[in-house]
Protein backbone atom coordinates (compact mmCIF):
# COMPACT_ATOMS: atom_id res chain seq x y z
CA UNK A 1 0.00 0.00 0.00
CA UNK A 2 1.42 3.37 -0.95
CA UNK A 3 1.00 6.45 1.22
CA UNK A 4 -1.56 7.67 -1.31
CA UNK A 5 -3.91 4.85 -0.33
CA UNK A 6 -3.29 5.59 3.33
CA UNK A 7 -4.01 9.32 3.13
CA UNK A 8 -7.09 8.70 0.99
CA UNK A 9 -8.63 6.94 3.99
CA UNK A 10 -8.72 10.27 5.83
CA UNK A 11 -11.13 13.14 5.38
CA UNK A 12 -9.08 16.30 6.05
CA UNK A 13 -12.08 18.16 7.47
CA UNK A 14 -12.77 15.35 9.91
CA UNK A 15 -9.10 15.21 10.92
CA UNK A 16 -9.21 18.97 11.54
CA UNK A 17 -12.32 18.60 13.70
CA UNK A 18 -10.78 15.75 15.71
CA UNK A 19 -7.65 17.81 16.36
CA UNK A 20 -9.73 20.80 17.47
CA UNK A 21 -11.70 18.57 19.86
CA UNK A 22 -8.62 17.26 21.70
CA UNK A 23 -8.54 18.28 25.37
CA UNK A 24 -6.03 18.70 28.17
CA UNK A 25 -6.21 15.03 29.20
CA UNK A 26 -5.43 13.94 25.63
CA UNK A 27 -2.39 16.20 25.53
CA UNK A 28 -1.17 14.94 28.90
CA UNK A 29 -1.49 11.35 27.76
CA UNK A 30 0.33 12.08 24.50
CA UNK A 31 3.12 13.83 26.39
CA UNK A 32 3.63 10.85 28.67
CA UNK A 33 3.29 8.17 26.00
CA UNK A 34 6.29 5.93 25.48
CA UNK A 35 5.50 5.93 21.76
CA UNK A 36 3.41 8.63 20.14
CA UNK A 37 0.55 7.22 18.07
CA UNK A 38 -1.46 9.09 15.41
CA UNK A 39 -4.16 10.02 17.96
CA UNK A 40 -1.46 11.37 20.25
CA UNK A 41 -0.05 13.41 17.39
CA UNK A 42 -3.48 14.99 16.95
CA UNK A 43 -3.45 15.96 20.62
CA UNK A 44 0.05 17.44 20.38
CA UNK A 45 -1.01 19.59 17.43
CA UNK A 46 -4.28 20.70 19.00
CA UNK A 47 -5.15 24.14 20.36
CA UNK A 48 -5.25 22.50 23.82
CA UNK A 49 -1.53 21.70 23.51
CA UNK A 50 -0.67 25.42 23.35
CA UNK A 51 -0.75 25.42 27.16
CA UNK A 52 1.81 22.58 27.20
CA UNK A 53 4.41 24.12 24.95
CA UNK A 54 7.13 24.16 27.62
CA UNK A 55 6.74 20.51 28.69
CA UNK A 56 6.62 19.57 25.00
CA UNK A 57 9.83 21.51 24.42
CA UNK A 58 11.46 19.85 27.45
CA UNK A 59 10.61 16.38 26.23
CA UNK A 60 11.64 17.19 22.66
CA UNK A 61 14.94 18.60 23.94
CA UNK A 62 15.63 15.51 26.06
CA UNK A 63 14.87 13.05 23.25
CA UNK A 64 16.98 15.00 20.76
CA UNK A 65 19.98 15.23 23.09
CA UNK A 66 19.73 11.55 23.87
CA UNK A 67 19.58 10.51 20.22
CA UNK A 68 21.79 13.10 18.54
CA UNK A 69 23.89 14.57 21.33
CA UNK A 70 24.86 18.22 21.18
CA UNK A 71 25.52 18.37 17.46
CA UNK A 72 24.09 20.28 14.50
CA UNK A 73 24.81 19.22 10.94
CA UNK A 74 25.46 22.22 8.69
CA UNK A 75 24.56 22.27 5.00
CA UNK A 76 24.10 24.78 2.21
CA UNK A 77 21.87 24.88 -0.86
CA UNK A 78 23.21 25.56 -4.35
CA UNK A 79 20.59 26.96 -6.69
CA UNK A 80 21.46 25.63 -10.15
CA UNK A 81 18.57 27.15 -12.07
CA UNK A 82 15.48 29.27 -11.55
CA UNK A 83 13.84 28.21 -14.81
CA UNK A 84 10.39 26.83 -14.15
CA UNK A 85 7.29 25.85 -16.08
CA UNK A 86 5.08 25.47 -13.02
CA UNK A 87 2.61 28.06 -11.80
CA UNK A 88 2.85 27.61 -8.01
CA UNK A 89 1.09 30.76 -6.80
CA UNK A 90 3.34 31.16 -3.75
CA UNK A 91 6.74 30.76 -5.44
CA UNK A 92 9.15 33.42 -6.65
CA UNK A 93 10.23 31.19 -9.54
CA UNK A 94 6.62 30.80 -10.79
CA UNK A 95 6.63 30.69 -14.62
CA UNK A 96 4.47 33.81 -14.90
CA UNK A 97 6.78 35.96 -12.76
CA UNK A 98 8.80 38.32 -14.94
CA UNK A 99 12.16 37.66 -13.35
CA UNK A 100 15.54 37.16 -14.99
CA UNK A 101 16.04 33.43 -15.59
CA UNK A 102 19.35 31.73 -15.31
CA UNK A 103 20.72 28.21 -15.47
CA UNK A 104 24.29 27.72 -14.34
CA UNK A 105 26.83 26.03 -16.58
CA UNK A 106 28.90 23.23 -15.07
CA UNK A 107 31.79 25.65 -14.64
CA UNK A 108 29.57 28.13 -12.85
CA UNK A 109 28.23 25.37 -10.60
CA UNK A 110 31.76 24.36 -9.73
CA UNK A 111 32.60 27.98 -8.92
CA UNK A 112 29.72 28.22 -6.39
CA UNK A 113 30.59 24.77 -5.08
CA UNK A 114 34.20 25.80 -4.47
CA UNK A 115 33.09 28.83 -2.45
CA UNK A 116 30.97 26.57 -0.21
CA UNK A 117 33.72 23.98 0.04
CA UNK A 118 36.14 26.72 1.15
CA UNK A 119 33.64 27.75 3.82
CA UNK A 120 33.77 24.21 5.18
CA UNK A 121 30.57 22.67 3.81
CA UNK A 122 30.63 18.96 2.92
CA UNK A 123 26.84 18.48 2.78
CA UNK A 124 25.21 20.20 -0.13
CA UNK A 125 21.67 20.51 -1.49
CA UNK A 126 21.22 21.11 -5.23
CA UNK A 127 18.07 23.09 -6.06
CA UNK A 128 16.27 23.74 -9.35
CA UNK A 129 12.77 24.49 -10.59
CA UNK A 130 10.96 22.23 -13.06
CA UNK A 131 11.89 23.00 -16.67
CA UNK A 132 12.45 19.72 -18.52
CA UNK A 133 13.55 21.43 -21.77
CA UNK A 134 16.37 23.32 -20.06
CA UNK A 135 17.23 21.38 -16.93
CA UNK A 136 17.04 17.61 -17.22
CA UNK A 137 18.29 14.47 -15.50
CA UNK A 138 21.51 14.43 -17.54
CA UNK A 139 22.29 18.01 -16.50
CA UNK A 140 21.73 17.24 -12.83
CA UNK A 141 23.78 14.04 -12.98
CA UNK A 142 26.61 15.91 -14.72
CA UNK A 143 26.46 18.65 -12.06
CA UNK A 144 26.67 16.06 -9.29
CA UNK A 145 29.59 14.29 -10.95
CA UNK A 146 31.44 17.58 -11.39
CA UNK A 147 31.24 18.68 -7.75
CA UNK A 148 31.35 15.26 -6.15
CA UNK A 149 35.06 15.39 -5.28
CA UNK A 150 34.34 18.47 -3.14
CA UNK A 151 31.56 17.05 -0.95
CA UNK A 152 30.74 13.97 1.08
CA UNK A 153 26.96 14.19 0.63
CA UNK A 154 24.89 15.63 -2.21
CA UNK A 155 21.12 15.94 -1.93
CA UNK A 156 18.64 17.28 -4.45
CA UNK A 157 15.53 19.41 -4.16
CA UNK A 158 14.30 19.45 -7.74
CA UNK A 159 11.35 18.20 -9.83
CA UNK A 160 9.85 14.76 -9.04
CA UNK A 161 11.41 11.93 -11.04
CA UNK A 162 10.57 8.31 -11.70
CA UNK A 163 12.49 5.44 -10.12
CA UNK A 164 14.75 5.35 -13.20
CA UNK A 165 15.63 9.00 -12.80
CA UNK A 166 16.46 8.59 -9.13
CA UNK A 167 18.54 5.51 -9.89
CA UNK A 168 20.54 7.66 -12.31
CA UNK A 169 20.98 10.25 -9.56
CA UNK A 170 22.28 7.62 -7.13
CA UNK A 171 24.73 6.48 -9.80
CA UNK A 172 25.91 10.07 -10.18
CA UNK A 173 26.72 10.21 -6.48
CA UNK A 174 23.57 11.79 -5.08
CA UNK A 175 22.44 10.28 -1.79
CA UNK A 176 19.58 12.49 -0.59
CA UNK A 177 16.17 13.67 -1.79
CA UNK A 178 14.12 16.56 -0.46
CA UNK A 179 10.59 16.92 -1.76
CA UNK A 180 7.86 18.93 -0.06
CA UNK A 181 4.21 18.16 -0.68
CA UNK A 182 3.63 21.90 0.05
CA UNK A 183 0.06 21.08 1.15
CA UNK A 184 -1.58 17.71 1.84
CA UNK A 185 -5.01 19.28 1.20
CA UNK A 186 -5.91 18.09 -2.30
CA UNK A 187 -8.37 20.91 -3.05
CA UNK A 188 -6.01 23.62 -1.88
CA UNK A 189 -3.17 21.93 -3.76
CA UNK A 190 -5.08 22.19 -7.02
CA UNK A 191 -5.90 25.86 -6.41
CA UNK A 192 -2.27 26.70 -5.68
CA UNK A 193 -0.91 24.81 -8.69
CA UNK A 194 -3.06 26.05 -11.60
CA UNK A 195 -0.79 24.64 -14.31
CA UNK A 196 2.43 22.76 -14.93
CA UNK A 197 3.46 19.20 -14.16
CA UNK A 198 3.42 19.90 -10.46
CA UNK A 199 -0.38 20.08 -10.63
CA UNK A 200 -0.47 16.27 -10.23
CA UNK A 201 -1.00 15.83 -6.47
CA UNK A 202 -0.78 12.04 -6.51
CA UNK A 203 2.46 11.87 -8.47
CA UNK A 204 4.11 14.32 -6.12
CA UNK A 205 2.80 12.58 -3.01
CA UNK A 206 4.41 9.24 -3.83
CA UNK A 207 7.67 10.80 -5.04
CA UNK A 208 9.54 10.01 -1.80
CA UNK A 209 8.57 6.37 -2.27
CA UNK A 210 10.12 6.31 -5.72
CA UNK A 211 13.27 7.86 -4.26
CA UNK A 212 13.34 5.26 -1.51
CA UNK A 213 12.90 2.49 -4.04
CA UNK A 214 15.87 3.80 -6.00
CA UNK A 215 17.98 3.56 -2.87
CA UNK A 216 18.39 7.21 -1.85
CA UNK A 217 19.69 7.16 1.70
CA UNK A 218 18.15 10.40 2.96
CA UNK A 219 14.58 11.40 2.29
CA UNK A 220 13.28 14.79 3.41
CA UNK A 221 9.66 15.90 3.45
CA UNK A 222 7.67 18.86 4.74
CA UNK A 223 4.75 21.17 4.11
CA UNK A 224 5.02 24.82 3.27
CA UNK A 225 3.80 26.56 6.39
CA UNK A 226 1.30 29.29 5.68
CA UNK A 227 -0.61 27.57 2.88
CA UNK A 228 -3.09 25.32 4.69
CA UNK A 229 -4.25 24.82 8.27
CA UNK A 230 -1.01 23.90 10.03
CA UNK A 231 -2.58 21.37 12.39
CA UNK A 232 -3.91 19.02 9.70
CA UNK A 233 -0.88 19.67 7.48
CA UNK A 234 1.51 18.73 10.27
CA UNK A 235 -0.60 15.68 11.11
CA UNK A 236 -0.36 14.38 7.54
CA UNK A 237 3.34 15.24 7.39
CA UNK A 238 3.83 13.12 10.52
CA UNK A 239 1.87 10.22 9.03
CA UNK A 240 3.89 10.52 5.84
CA UNK A 241 7.18 10.45 7.77
CA UNK A 242 6.04 7.41 9.75
CA UNK A 243 4.99 5.63 6.57
CA UNK A 244 8.31 6.31 4.88
CA UNK A 245 10.35 5.25 7.90
CA UNK A 246 8.50 1.92 8.03
CA UNK A 247 8.59 1.14 4.32
CA UNK A 248 12.03 2.54 3.47
CA UNK A 249 13.72 1.62 6.69
CA UNK A 250 17.22 1.85 5.28
CA UNK A 251 16.77 5.57 4.58
CA UNK A 252 16.93 8.34 7.14
CA UNK A 253 13.74 10.38 7.08
CA UNK A 254 13.94 14.07 7.82
CA UNK A 255 11.32 16.77 8.18
CA UNK A 256 11.80 20.43 7.30
CA UNK A 257 9.82 23.38 8.58
CA UNK A 258 9.73 25.96 5.77
CA UNK A 259 7.58 28.94 6.71
CA UNK A 260 6.42 31.24 3.93
CA UNK A 261 8.59 34.28 3.36
CA UNK A 262 7.98 37.33 1.20
CA UNK A 263 8.67 36.43 -2.47
CA UNK A 264 8.50 38.11 -5.87
CA UNK A 265 4.87 37.94 -6.97
CA UNK A 266 3.97 38.64 -3.32
CA UNK A 267 1.54 35.88 -2.41
CA UNK A 268 0.21 36.49 1.09
CA UNK A 269 0.12 33.25 3.15
CA UNK A 270 -3.55 32.30 3.68
CA UNK A 271 -2.82 30.64 7.05
CA UNK A 272 0.24 32.33 8.56
CA UNK A 273 2.00 30.32 11.25
CA UNK A 274 3.10 32.14 14.40
CA UNK A 275 6.33 31.47 16.33
CA UNK A 276 4.59 29.51 19.13
CA UNK A 277 2.82 27.43 16.49
CA UNK A 278 6.12 26.73 14.75
CA UNK A 279 7.56 25.54 18.06
CA UNK A 280 4.50 23.35 18.62
CA UNK A 281 4.96 21.73 15.19
CA UNK A 282 8.68 21.07 15.71
CA UNK A 283 8.17 19.53 19.16
CA UNK A 284 5.23 17.40 17.99
CA UNK A 285 7.32 15.99 15.14
CA UNK A 286 10.21 15.18 17.47
CA UNK A 287 7.91 13.40 19.92
CA UNK A 288 6.47 11.40 17.03
CA UNK A 289 9.81 10.59 15.37
CA UNK A 290 12.62 10.42 17.93
CA UNK A 291 15.20 9.55 15.25
CA UNK A 292 14.18 11.83 12.39
CA UNK A 293 16.38 14.63 11.16
CA UNK A 294 14.65 17.96 11.82
CA UNK A 295 15.85 20.73 9.55
CA UNK A 296 15.75 24.50 9.98
CA UNK A 297 16.68 26.75 7.08
CA UNK A 298 17.84 30.35 6.95
CA UNK A 299 14.30 31.49 6.13
CA UNK A 300 13.96 32.22 9.84
CA UNK A 301 15.63 35.05 11.74
CA UNK A 302 18.93 34.61 13.56
CA UNK A 303 17.29 35.24 16.93
CA UNK A 304 14.51 32.74 16.34
CA UNK A 305 16.91 30.10 14.97
CA UNK A 306 19.09 30.43 18.05
CA UNK A 307 16.05 29.91 20.27
CA UNK A 308 14.80 26.94 18.22
CA UNK A 309 18.20 25.26 18.40
CA UNK A 310 17.62 23.24 21.60
CA UNK A 311 14.03 22.25 20.76
CA UNK A 312 14.76 19.31 18.48
CA UNK A 313 16.57 20.67 15.43
CA UNK A 314 19.44 18.51 14.14
CA UNK A 315 20.37 20.17 10.87
CA UNK A 316 20.67 23.78 9.73
CA UNK A 317 21.61 25.62 6.60
CA UNK A 318 23.98 28.55 6.94
CA UNK A 319 25.04 31.50 4.81
CA UNK A 320 22.48 30.46 2.21
CA UNK A 321 21.83 32.17 -1.08
CA UNK A 322 18.68 31.24 -3.01
CA UNK A 323 19.72 32.69 -6.38
CA UNK A 324 21.63 30.71 -9.04
CA UNK A 325 25.29 31.70 -8.99
CA UNK A 326 24.73 33.72 -5.85
CA UNK A 327 27.78 32.50 -3.97
CA UNK A 328 30.38 33.51 -6.54
CA UNK A 329 28.71 36.39 -8.44
CA UNK A 330 28.15 39.96 -7.33
CA UNK A 331 25.12 40.71 -9.52
CA UNK A 332 23.10 37.55 -9.02
CA UNK A 333 19.66 36.67 -10.36
CA UNK A 334 16.48 37.06 -8.39
CA UNK A 335 16.09 34.94 -5.25
CA UNK A 336 13.42 32.27 -4.77
CA UNK A 337 12.65 33.75 -1.38
CA UNK A 338 14.38 36.21 0.91
CA UNK A 339 16.48 34.64 3.62
CA UNK A 340 16.47 36.18 7.07
CA UNK A 341 19.42 34.74 8.95
CA UNK A 342 22.32 36.12 6.91
CA UNK A 343 25.13 35.12 9.27
CA UNK A 344 28.13 33.57 7.59
CA UNK A 345 28.86 29.85 8.05
CA UNK A 346 31.80 30.77 10.29
CA UNK A 347 29.55 32.96 12.45
CA UNK A 348 27.00 30.12 12.67
CA UNK A 349 29.68 27.65 13.73
CA UNK A 350 30.88 30.13 16.34
CA UNK A 351 27.36 30.62 17.67
CA UNK A 352 26.83 26.85 17.89
CA UNK A 353 30.08 26.34 19.74
CA UNK A 354 29.26 29.19 22.14
CA UNK A 355 25.99 27.43 22.95
CA UNK A 356 27.73 24.13 23.58
CA UNK A 357 26.93 22.49 20.24
CA UNK A 358 29.41 20.85 17.92
CA UNK A 359 28.95 22.11 14.35
CA UNK A 360 29.20 19.00 12.16
CA UNK A 361 30.33 19.55 8.57
CA UNK A 362 30.79 15.97 7.47
CA UNK A 363 28.54 13.10 8.45
CA UNK A 364 28.65 10.93 5.34
CA UNK A 365 31.16 9.49 2.91
CA UNK A 366 30.86 8.70 -0.74
CA UNK A 367 32.45 5.33 0.01
CA UNK A 368 29.01 4.25 1.26
CA UNK A 369 27.63 4.49 -2.24
CA UNK A 370 28.27 1.46 -4.38
CA UNK A 371 29.11 3.79 -7.24
CA UNK A 372 31.80 5.58 -5.22
CA UNK A 373 35.15 6.10 -6.88
CA UNK A 374 36.74 3.59 -4.52
CA UNK A 375 37.45 0.14 -5.94
Amino acid sequence: MSFLEQINQYDPAEVGARIEAMGQADVERALAAERVRPEDLMALLSPAAAAFIEPMAQRSHRITQQRFGKTILLYAPIYLSNECSNGCLYCGFNATNKVPRRTLTLDEIERDARVLHEQGFRHILLVTGEAPAKVDEEYLAAAARRIRPLFSSISIEVWPMGVDGYTKMVEAGIDGLTIYQETYDRTLYEQLHPFGKKRDYDYRLITPERGGEAGLRRIGIGFLQGLGDFRTEAFFTGLHALYLSKHFWRSLISISFPRMRPAAGAFPPPHPVTDPELVQIICAMRLLMPDAGLIMSTRESAALRDNLLPLGITQMSAGSCTAPGGYSDEDDAVEQFAIDDDRSPAEMAEMLAARGYDPVWKDWDEAFLQTGSQP
Binding site: R29, E34, R35, P55, Q58, H247, P310
Partner: protein
Protein backbone atom coordinates in the same frame (compact mmCIF):
# COMPACT_ATOMS: atom_id res chain seq x y z
CA UNK B 1 -16.63 -3.58 17.60
CA UNK B 2 -15.04 -4.36 14.26
CA UNK B 3 -11.54 -5.16 15.42
CA UNK B 4 -10.38 -8.08 13.40
CA UNK B 5 -7.01 -9.64 12.96
CA UNK B 6 -6.22 -9.71 9.26
CA UNK B 7 -3.45 -11.94 7.96
CA UNK B 8 -2.85 -12.24 4.22
CA UNK B 9 -6.32 -10.86 3.54
CA UNK B 10 -8.10 -13.35 5.81
CA UNK B 11 -10.01 -12.04 8.86
CA UNK B 12 -10.11 -13.58 12.31
CA UNK B 13 -12.13 -12.52 15.35
CA UNK B 14 -9.69 -14.10 17.78
CA UNK B 15 -6.18 -12.81 18.38
CA UNK B 16 -5.09 -15.93 20.23
CA UNK B 17 -3.43 -18.75 18.32
CA UNK B 18 -2.86 -22.08 20.03
CA UNK B 19 -0.46 -24.95 19.56
CA UNK B 20 -1.33 -28.62 19.78
CA UNK B 21 1.77 -30.18 21.33
CA UNK B 22 2.32 -31.60 24.80
CA UNK B 23 -1.35 -32.12 25.72
CA UNK B 24 -2.17 -35.10 27.93
CA UNK B 25 -4.92 -36.17 25.57
CA UNK B 26 -6.65 -35.04 22.40
CA UNK B 27 -9.79 -34.43 24.42
CA UNK B 28 -7.95 -31.99 26.69
CA UNK B 29 -6.48 -30.31 23.64
CA UNK B 30 -9.87 -29.87 22.00
CA UNK B 31 -11.33 -28.44 25.19
CA UNK B 32 -8.49 -25.92 25.43
CA UNK B 33 -8.92 -24.93 21.78
CA UNK B 34 -12.67 -24.51 22.21
CA UNK B 35 -12.51 -22.41 25.36
CA UNK B 36 -9.62 -20.28 24.11
CA UNK B 37 -11.84 -18.99 21.31
CA UNK B 38 -8.92 -19.43 18.95
CA UNK B 39 -9.44 -19.69 15.21
CA UNK B 40 -5.87 -20.57 14.26
CA UNK B 41 -4.37 -23.82 15.41
CA UNK B 42 -0.83 -24.85 14.67
CA UNK B 43 0.22 -28.47 14.23
CA UNK B 44 3.75 -29.85 13.95
CA UNK B 45 4.03 -31.63 10.63
CA UNK B 46 6.40 -34.17 12.17
CA UNK B 47 3.65 -35.24 14.58
CA UNK B 48 0.92 -36.01 12.07
CA UNK B 49 0.29 -37.89 8.86
CA UNK B 50 -1.00 -35.05 6.76
CA UNK B 51 -2.05 -37.33 3.95
CA UNK B 52 -4.14 -39.51 6.24
CA UNK B 53 -7.59 -38.03 6.95
CA UNK B 54 -7.94 -40.56 9.77
CA UNK B 55 -4.95 -39.12 11.63
CA UNK B 56 -6.04 -38.98 15.24
CA UNK B 57 -4.85 -35.44 15.89
CA UNK B 58 -5.98 -33.92 12.61
CA UNK B 59 -9.38 -35.53 12.99
CA UNK B 60 -9.89 -33.45 16.14
CA UNK B 61 -9.52 -30.15 14.32
CA UNK B 62 -12.72 -29.03 12.66
CA UNK B 63 -11.70 -27.17 9.47
CA UNK B 64 -14.93 -25.17 9.59
CA UNK B 65 -13.89 -23.66 12.93
CA UNK B 66 -10.13 -23.50 12.71
CA UNK B 67 -7.49 -22.58 10.23
CA UNK B 68 -5.01 -25.42 10.42
CA UNK B 69 -1.57 -23.87 10.43
CA UNK B 70 1.04 -26.56 9.85
CA UNK B 71 4.47 -25.82 11.30
CA UNK B 72 7.93 -27.02 10.39
CA UNK B 73 9.02 -27.62 13.97
CA UNK B 74 12.05 -29.90 14.04
CA UNK B 75 13.56 -28.55 10.83
CA UNK B 76 17.25 -27.81 11.29
CA UNK B 77 17.82 -25.82 8.13
CA UNK B 78 16.01 -24.11 5.25
CA UNK B 79 16.06 -27.19 3.08
CA UNK B 80 14.29 -29.35 5.66
CA UNK B 81 11.71 -26.66 6.39
CA UNK B 82 10.94 -26.14 2.70
CA UNK B 83 10.59 -29.90 2.16
CA UNK B 84 8.12 -30.21 5.06
CA UNK B 85 6.06 -27.29 3.79
CA UNK B 86 5.86 -28.75 0.28
CA UNK B 87 4.76 -32.12 1.67
CA UNK B 88 1.97 -30.46 3.63
CA UNK B 89 0.71 -28.66 0.57
CA UNK B 90 0.98 -31.77 -1.58
CA UNK B 91 -1.20 -33.53 0.99
CA UNK B 92 -3.92 -30.95 0.47
CA UNK B 93 -3.27 -28.47 3.30
CA UNK B 94 -3.89 -24.81 2.58
CA UNK B 95 -0.67 -23.03 1.66
CA UNK B 96 -0.26 -21.51 5.15
CA UNK B 97 2.93 -22.42 6.95
CA UNK B 98 4.35 -21.50 10.31
CA UNK B 99 8.02 -21.51 9.58
CA UNK B 100 10.21 -22.83 12.39
CA UNK B 101 13.87 -23.57 11.85
CA UNK B 102 15.39 -24.57 15.17
CA UNK B 103 18.73 -26.36 14.86
CA UNK B 104 19.43 -26.07 18.59
CA UNK B 105 17.52 -28.94 20.25
CA UNK B 106 17.81 -27.50 23.77
CA UNK B 107 16.30 -24.04 23.73
CA UNK B 108 14.75 -24.48 20.27
CA UNK B 109 15.90 -21.01 19.30
CA UNK B 110 15.23 -20.10 15.68
CA UNK B 111 18.08 -19.84 13.17
CA UNK B 112 17.72 -16.37 11.59
CA UNK B 113 19.79 -17.12 8.49
CA UNK B 114 18.06 -20.37 7.56
CA UNK B 115 14.65 -18.88 8.41
CA UNK B 116 15.15 -15.97 6.02
CA UNK B 117 16.40 -18.33 3.33
CA UNK B 118 13.42 -20.66 3.70
CA UNK B 119 10.94 -17.76 3.85
CA UNK B 120 12.21 -16.39 0.58
CA UNK B 121 11.79 -19.76 -1.17
CA UNK B 122 8.35 -20.47 0.31
CA UNK B 123 6.96 -17.01 -0.47
CA UNK B 124 8.09 -17.41 -4.08
CA UNK B 125 6.28 -20.74 -4.20
CA UNK B 126 3.05 -19.08 -3.10
CA UNK B 127 3.01 -20.04 0.58
CA UNK B 128 1.59 -17.72 3.22
CA UNK B 129 4.54 -17.72 5.58
CA UNK B 130 4.40 -16.95 9.31
CA UNK B 131 7.99 -17.14 10.56
CA UNK B 132 9.01 -17.82 14.17
CA UNK B 133 12.01 -15.61 14.96
CA UNK B 134 14.16 -14.22 17.70
CA UNK B 135 13.07 -10.70 18.66
CA UNK B 136 15.37 -9.05 16.15
CA UNK B 137 13.84 -5.93 14.55
CA UNK B 138 16.11 -5.97 11.50
CA UNK B 139 15.41 -9.63 10.82
CA UNK B 140 11.71 -8.82 11.09
CA UNK B 141 12.12 -6.15 8.43
CA UNK B 142 14.11 -8.41 6.16
CA UNK B 143 11.39 -11.05 6.43
CA UNK B 144 8.52 -8.69 5.69
CA UNK B 145 10.55 -7.48 2.72
CA UNK B 146 10.68 -10.97 1.24
CA UNK B 147 6.92 -11.14 1.71
CA UNK B 148 6.08 -13.02 4.91
CA UNK B 149 2.49 -12.57 6.11
CA UNK B 150 3.47 -11.91 9.74
CA UNK B 151 6.49 -11.94 11.98
CA UNK B 152 6.39 -14.05 15.15
CA UNK B 153 9.08 -12.94 17.60
CA UNK B 154 9.62 -14.94 20.75
CA UNK B 155 8.99 -13.49 24.20
CA UNK B 156 11.24 -16.13 25.80
CA UNK B 157 12.44 -19.60 24.76
CA UNK B 158 9.66 -22.05 23.82
CA UNK B 159 8.07 -23.70 26.80
CA UNK B 160 9.91 -21.55 29.32
CA UNK B 161 6.75 -19.77 30.59
CA UNK B 162 8.96 -16.81 31.48
CA UNK B 163 6.88 -14.10 29.84
CA UNK B 164 8.11 -11.25 27.66
CA UNK B 165 11.83 -11.11 28.37
CA UNK B 166 12.51 -9.48 25.00
CA UNK B 167 10.18 -6.58 25.70
CA UNK B 168 12.26 -3.70 24.34
CA UNK B 169 13.05 -5.47 21.09
CA UNK B 170 9.46 -6.56 20.58
CA UNK B 171 8.38 -2.96 21.16
CA UNK B 172 10.66 -1.88 18.31
CA UNK B 173 9.32 -4.63 16.04
CA UNK B 174 5.74 -3.55 16.78
CA UNK B 175 6.63 0.09 16.16
CA UNK B 176 8.20 -0.59 12.79
CA UNK B 177 6.38 -3.57 11.32
CA UNK B 178 4.09 -3.35 8.32
CA UNK B 179 2.77 -6.89 8.81
CA UNK B 180 0.98 -8.28 11.88
CA UNK B 181 3.26 -9.05 14.84
CA UNK B 182 2.42 -12.25 16.71
CA UNK B 183 4.28 -12.79 19.97
CA UNK B 184 5.13 -16.47 20.04
CA UNK B 185 6.78 -18.58 22.70
CA UNK B 186 7.45 -18.01 26.36
CA UNK B 187 4.02 -16.73 27.36
CA UNK B 188 3.24 -18.66 30.53
CA UNK B 189 0.33 -16.75 32.02
CA UNK B 190 -2.66 -14.75 30.78
CA UNK B 191 -0.98 -11.63 32.19
CA UNK B 192 1.93 -12.23 29.79
CA UNK B 193 -0.50 -12.40 26.88
CA UNK B 194 -2.25 -9.25 28.11
CA UNK B 195 1.11 -7.49 28.32
CA UNK B 196 1.93 -8.37 24.70
CA UNK B 197 -1.44 -7.10 23.55
CA UNK B 198 -1.15 -3.90 25.62
CA UNK B 199 2.15 -3.26 23.87
CA UNK B 200 0.33 -3.33 20.55
CA UNK B 201 1.06 -6.86 19.35
CA UNK B 202 -1.53 -8.01 16.82
CA UNK B 203 -1.84 -11.50 18.28
CA UNK B 204 -0.13 -14.09 20.48
CA UNK B 205 0.50 -17.81 20.20
CA UNK B 206 0.34 -20.07 23.24
CA UNK B 207 0.90 -23.78 23.65
CA UNK B 208 2.81 -25.03 26.69
CA UNK B 209 0.93 -22.88 29.20
CA UNK B 210 -2.31 -24.55 28.15
CA UNK B 211 -0.95 -28.05 27.58
CA UNK B 212 0.78 -28.46 30.93
CA UNK B 213 -1.94 -26.84 33.02
CA UNK B 214 -3.88 -29.28 35.19
CA UNK B 215 -6.95 -27.80 33.55
CA UNK B 216 -6.16 -26.86 29.93
CA UNK B 217 -9.74 -25.83 29.16
CA UNK B 218 -9.92 -23.34 32.01
CA UNK B 219 -6.47 -22.04 31.12
CA UNK B 220 -7.60 -21.58 27.51
CA UNK B 221 -10.52 -19.48 28.72
CA UNK B 222 -8.19 -17.46 30.96
CA UNK B 223 -5.82 -16.74 28.09
CA UNK B 224 -8.75 -15.69 25.94
CA UNK B 225 -9.66 -13.09 28.58
CA UNK B 226 -6.05 -11.98 28.93
CA UNK B 227 -5.74 -11.41 25.20
CA UNK B 228 -9.04 -9.56 25.00
CA UNK B 229 -8.27 -7.39 28.03
CA UNK B 230 -4.86 -6.45 26.67
CA UNK B 231 -6.23 -5.67 23.23
CA UNK B 232 -9.05 -3.53 24.59
CA UNK B 233 -6.67 -1.62 26.85
CA UNK B 234 -4.37 -0.99 23.90
CA UNK B 235 -7.22 0.34 21.80
CA UNK B 236 -8.56 2.47 24.64
CA UNK B 237 -5.13 4.09 25.15
CA UNK B 238 -3.19 3.40 28.30
CA UNK B 239 -2.21 6.09 30.74
CA UNK B 240 1.52 6.33 31.29
CA UNK B 241 3.77 7.36 34.10
CA UNK B 242 4.02 11.11 34.15
CA UNK B 243 7.14 13.14 33.81
CA UNK B 244 7.88 15.48 36.69
CA UNK B 245 6.05 18.75 36.25
CA UNK B 246 8.17 21.58 34.91
CA UNK B 247 7.31 24.89 36.52
CA UNK B 248 9.58 27.33 34.71
CA UNK B 249 9.88 27.89 30.96
CA UNK B 250 13.59 27.85 30.21
CA UNK B 251 13.15 26.62 26.64
CA UNK B 252 10.12 28.54 25.45
CA UNK B 253 10.31 31.70 27.54
CA UNK B 254 11.33 33.59 24.40
CA UNK B 255 7.87 33.09 22.92
CA UNK B 256 6.22 35.18 25.60
CA UNK B 257 8.70 38.03 25.29
Amino acid sequence: MNDQLIIAGRSFNSRLMVGTGKFASNAKMVEAMELSGSQIVTVALRRVNVDNPEDSLLACIDPAKYLLLPNTSGARDAEEAVRLARLARAAGCEPWIKLEVTPDPYYLLPDPIETLKAAEILVKEGFIVLPYIGADPVLAKRLQEVGTATVMPLGAPIGSNKGIRTRDSIAIIIEQAIVPVVVDAGLGAPSHAAEAMEMGADAVLVNTALAVSPNPGAMGAAFRKGVEAGREAYLAGLGEKRDKAEASSPLTGFLGA
